[in-house]
């Protein structure tokens, strides 16, 4: 269980995390979702005490991380890849980490096995690909067999097999009753893995709800309809909060009524309909909608020739 209360972090005059409060519960995968620069990593760094909050507090299982007698056994954290000495081998890195808590070498071998690092364990970390670095970071996180697991962008740099492995790992850990807190800027990834979502943008929490609720609450029923007589069909559907957009002269997107009602209206009016496609609000769209005004770095239309690395001032309003 991770509890944050009024967590603030300022770097100079820039506010990275703007007074957020949230609780991450055990037994499920909680996704921490937000665009780059939204404050995800800073929040996770504050959980394990790498950054000191400017105000507010965060506790893990009732205590500040540093107050635990065996921090590595309480929380396993993968924070930004490559927190390793490049000249040391993966095996020795794990041994040095394990030694601080008197964790036996047998456990070191277990996590090497578990993360598939066996063939490269004796090689220097400096030569590792990003994916292998991620696996080593996860191996370190699992060393203490912790009750709470924090993974910052764990799928970064992993191949598809690795991505799937992370998904299984996260779900498996949650199923064992552990607290799993997983950050990503990829909505699609979260849709596959998380049960609960905390969405953050520009240092503030935008949403904190089960994935299904976030999906359901967003986007009304939309249907794409292709017909020769769109205006006649629309006239039959008038009322009931129906809105529509012309995508092409014969192609409509209708929001409001469900496909069956559209078909019935078309049947009544003797209007020929030759496409009727229900459109599902994807998590991706819900996310875009949620964070539209909260992105720190938004892309510009290149043809307008704005600064190459534009921090969008417009989006701050």
């Amino acid at each position: 269980m991770i509890e944050a209360q009024g967590l603030f972090k300022r770097y100079g005059d820039k506010t990275a995390v703007n007074g957020i409060s949230f609780t991450v519960h055990p037994g499920r995968v909680t996704g921490f979702l937000g665009p780059n620069g939204a404050g995800k990593s800073t929040t996770m760094r504050m959980i394990v005490g790498l950054d000191t909050p400017s105000a507010g507090s965060v506790s893990v299982n009732g205590r500040r991380y540093a107050e635990h007698r065996a921090p590595l056994r309480e929380v396993g954290a993968l924070l930004e890849a490559k927190a390793f000495h490049t000249k040391r081998s993966a095996y020795n890195h794990l041994r040095a980490m394990a030694a601080t808590h008197g964790i036996p070498n047998s456990r070191v071998n277990e996590v090497i096995e578990m993360t598939g690092l066996g063939p490269v364990a004796k090689k220097r970390v400096g030569g590792f690909s990003m994916g292998m670095g991620q696996r080593l970071g996860i191996a370190v996180a699992m060393l203490g067999d912790p009750q709470t697991v924090i993974l910052d962008e764990p799928v970064n740099g992993l191949d598809p097999e690795g991505v799937q492995w992370i998904r299984h790992l996260a779900r498996g850990l949650a199923a064992e009753g552990r607290t799993v807190f997983l950050s990503s800027h990829l909505m699609s990834e979260m849709a596959m893995t998380a049960d609960h979502l905390i969405v953050i943008g520009r240092g503030r929490i935008i949403a904190d709800a089960p994935v299904s609720e976030i999906l359901a609450g967003r986007g009304q029923l939309r249907t794409r309809v292709r017909t020769d007589r769109p205006s006649d069909l629309l006239a039959a559907l008038r009322g009931d909060g129906t809105t529509s957009t012309f995508l092409e002269p014969d192609l409509l997107e209708i929001t409001g009524p469900d496909p069956r009602r559209i078909a019935e209206a078309a049947l009544r009016q003797q209007v020929l309909v030759y496409e009727l496609t229900p459109l599902q609000a994807s998590l991706e769209e819900a996310y875009m909608e949620l964070t539209a005004s909260e992105v720190e770095y938004s892309s510009h239309d290149l043809s307008l020739g704005p600064p190459a690395q534009g921090v969008s001032e417009g989006s701050r309003s």
Binding site: G49, R69, A70, H101, G102, M114, L117, P119, W165
Partner: protein
């Protein structure tokens, strides 16, 4: 990477609250593993030993040839600042065990800076501070390991230097016994000197968090500052040469000296002054590290 991965979850073991936990002895062990598992550290330590013993052999050899020159009635050899009376070679010879310090300290200083600054350079520091979130034990342990290793290398090098120098000095009858006054103390204090150099340098490396900057600063403090003070500005005011005695390497010189000198710090005073530098830098680095974001 296309290695196969086994089942995700950790074996569901019984959770016990009395399992392994963090303590200082374990942090020490972790720091020891870190020191011994990076090849460059071991290479630097071996080089320190070799260079110090080699320098002592050269030192003994130069005394031996100087004495030979003197015995054969040739012109007195140049063994120090011009114009000063020629020191007794028998006394000089007793400096052989600690004669490698001048370069030994350079290597130990670099090693100590690298040990801590490389953690910031590589990102390792984040792993260290997550494992030991109170931070102070981790940094203390690293200082203890660096000081202990430097002490052992320094004392071993001094002892080896003594042994290597004897046959060379014996040619001109300059050999001396290990049981002579202050010889064992000088050998041990060569270790103490390097241990203190290590702690001072690690303090600098921790404060600066940068390998190159740390090494340059340490070298500046140990080598350049004494030279500047003695050769360039000591004439400006009376107190400057006085104060210069308290520079770490000048004080340390007295710590390893076999004979006392008029107007200089005693062995104990030299050691205390050097230790004061070490303590101040250590405490400063602990305080700063505890408060700083990693």
């Amino acid at each position: 990477m296309s290695t196969s991965t086994s089942t995700p979850a950790a074996p569901a073991r019984a959770r016990r609250s009395d399992g392994p936990r963090l303590n200082f002895g374990r942090v020490l062990r972790s720091e020891w593993i870190k020191v011994t598992t990076v090849p460059s550290t071991l290479i630097l330590l071996a080089s320190t030993l070799v260079v110090m013993v080699g320098l002592a052999a050269l030192f003994a050899w130069s005394l031996q040839t100087g004495q030979a020159q003197l015995d054969s009635g040739g012109p007195p050899p140049q063994m120090g600042p011009p114009g000063e009376p020629l020191p007794d070679f028998g006394d000089l010879a007793r400096g052989a065990p600690s004669s490698g310090i001048i370069f030994g300290q350079l290597l130990i200083a670099s090693l100590a800076v690298v040990l801590i600054a490389s953690e910031w350079a590589t990102g390792m520091i984040r792993s260290t501070m997550v494992a030991v979130p109170k931070r102070v034990p981790a940094l203390l342990a690293k200082n203890v390991i660096a000081a202990a290793v430097s002490f052992l290398i320094g004392a071993a090098a001094a002892l080896l230097s003594y042994l290597v120098a004897q046959p060379i000095l014996a040619v001109e009858d300059l050999a001396f016994a290990l049981s002579d006054d202050n010889i064992v103390a000088s050998i041990l204090n060569t270790g103490t000197y390097l241990a203190l150099i290590a702690v001072i340098s690690m303090g600098i490396g921790t404060l600066l968090r940068n390998t190159a900057g740390g090494v340059v600063t340490a070298v500046g403090l140990f080598f350049v500052l004494p030279v500047i003070v003695v050769n360039l500005i000591s004439g400006l005011a009376d107190w400057i040469p006085d104060a210069a005695r308290f520079l770490p390497t000048n004080a340390g010189e007295r710590l390893v000296a076999v004979t006392a000198e008029e107007g200089a710090l005693t062995q104990l005073e030299g050691g205390l002054v050097m230790a004061a530098w070490a303590v101040v830098l250590l405490v400063a680095s602990l305080l700063v590290t505890r408060r700083r974001d990693v």
